[in-house]
Symmetry: C2
Subunit: 247 residues, 2 copies
Amino acid sequence: MSQSKTSATGQFVRRLLLRSALTAEEQDALLDLPGRVLQVGRGHQLVVPGNPVDHATLLIDGLLGRYDQMVDGSRQITTLHIPGDMSDLHSVPLPVPAWGIEALAPSTVMQVPHQAVRALAAAFPPILMAFWRDTVTDASILAKWTANLGRADAAARLAHLICEIGVRLEVAGLGRRERFALPLTQGHMADILGITSVHVNRTLMGLRQSNGLLVSGGFVETEDWRGLAKLAGFDPEYLLLENVYAD
Amino acid sequence: MSQSKTSATGQFVRRLLLRSALTAEEQDALLDLPGRVLQVGRGHQLVVPGNPVDHATLLIDGLLGRYDQMVDGSRQITTLHIPGDMSDLHSVPLPVPAWGIEALAPSTVMQVPHQAVRALAAAFPPILMAFWRDTVTDASILAKWTANLGRADAAARLAHLICEIGVRLEVAGLGRRERFALPLTQGHMADILGITSVHVNRTLMGLRQSNGLLVSGGFVETEDWRGLAKLAGFDPEYLLLENVYAD
DNA sequence: CGTTCGATTGATGTTCTTCAATATGCGTGG
DNA sequence: CCACGCATATTGAAGAACATCAATCGAACG
């Protein structure tokens, strides 16, 4: 399993390198991060709201959602994590779990002790900077979702979700934006988009009519990606992919 | 104006100390952060979407909003900043402005060169850690807003806004949660809550009836704070105020 | 004293929810 | 291989929440 650990941390390092310059030594230190590899089924709760955590969760394969539970029992997924994402890196500086993390699809994760992450950050300030930058990136995506939930209608939100995930998967080398695997149920999409699953279904049908968007069986395919992006008002700038910032 | 600079950075240091332990030396270094103090009127654009920035904006007095502009011209305010907040600390690691920052009320700010912030972070790793933690705090608030926009109705969202700002101002020593200044127009509130100003007006009237909430003339006053918090599903945990984490 | 911005009100339309029913696919045990 | 059970998807009808459009009101300010 040392093999799979290295490839797991390798994905994570690749993600960090998108936005931060790291020396070979720093990269090696990250690759050697320890952790327990875990396979979990759909619906498994990796972080339960209220229970303190002492490890961060690196997604190797599958799909994770960070969610907030409302008092009435409904919930809102605020962040979607694809392989290579350290889904709660933010729990390292502040291990207070005001949220939950759930496997939205069968997933493989590596649980990395906070202690190890902190030790690395302390030993290599550029790594700490890279972690900060990673958190900023997540926050930028979150801000975009806030804007969409506040001001875009269901069709635009759904289209935006498809565009964003497509581009993120493409950047991570996990598919093409025009066609990729997305193992979400319509109920999950509802919790992401802030609507009901009934309305997800109707909105999907509408987008199939108008834009030839196919979403079924855990796969997404679109004939008219540009049209979809236009409808969504999708501009990838907020994904902060354009530049590498050394420091 | 050296006086006002010190008091400005002092507020910021106090905010950092809520969640991070810093030595006297580190605190002094933060207090000495250089910057240009600026007074701006309501509606002034401090950061224009698309224009790169080379300084961070520390709010001394007033109210700032970070917003995202939609293609149809509407906008969504994603983050509200009160005095003592460094409104775009996140621009230090990633100076890509995919958003705008506007003075929602007449405000006094201090513009701190990124260079100075970076130098401090490089010289004092605990300060870098404190910055990261500050970004995580902002992201936690943002996640809560994402959840509210997705799953709470207009009355609950409005009540939540009032509760959150009240508590944040109280913690910053700028008022009591039951009564405080909030120089927002109903149009601003609409852009925060993701509804129209007409509906803000009606929702405010509803909350005045049901909870004795008074919002007018830039002031907020409530006779039944607990009732308001209950209606909002407000739990201050996400503000991450409970603990101090050393590192 | 007029102008302007924000607050308030009314009438009407749209989007999305809710409730309920039915359909479909897929794994499991027989 | 088939029947069953369960989760997910699909559809319809009715209602609630919120938007839109348009007008009026009020207060601050030059």
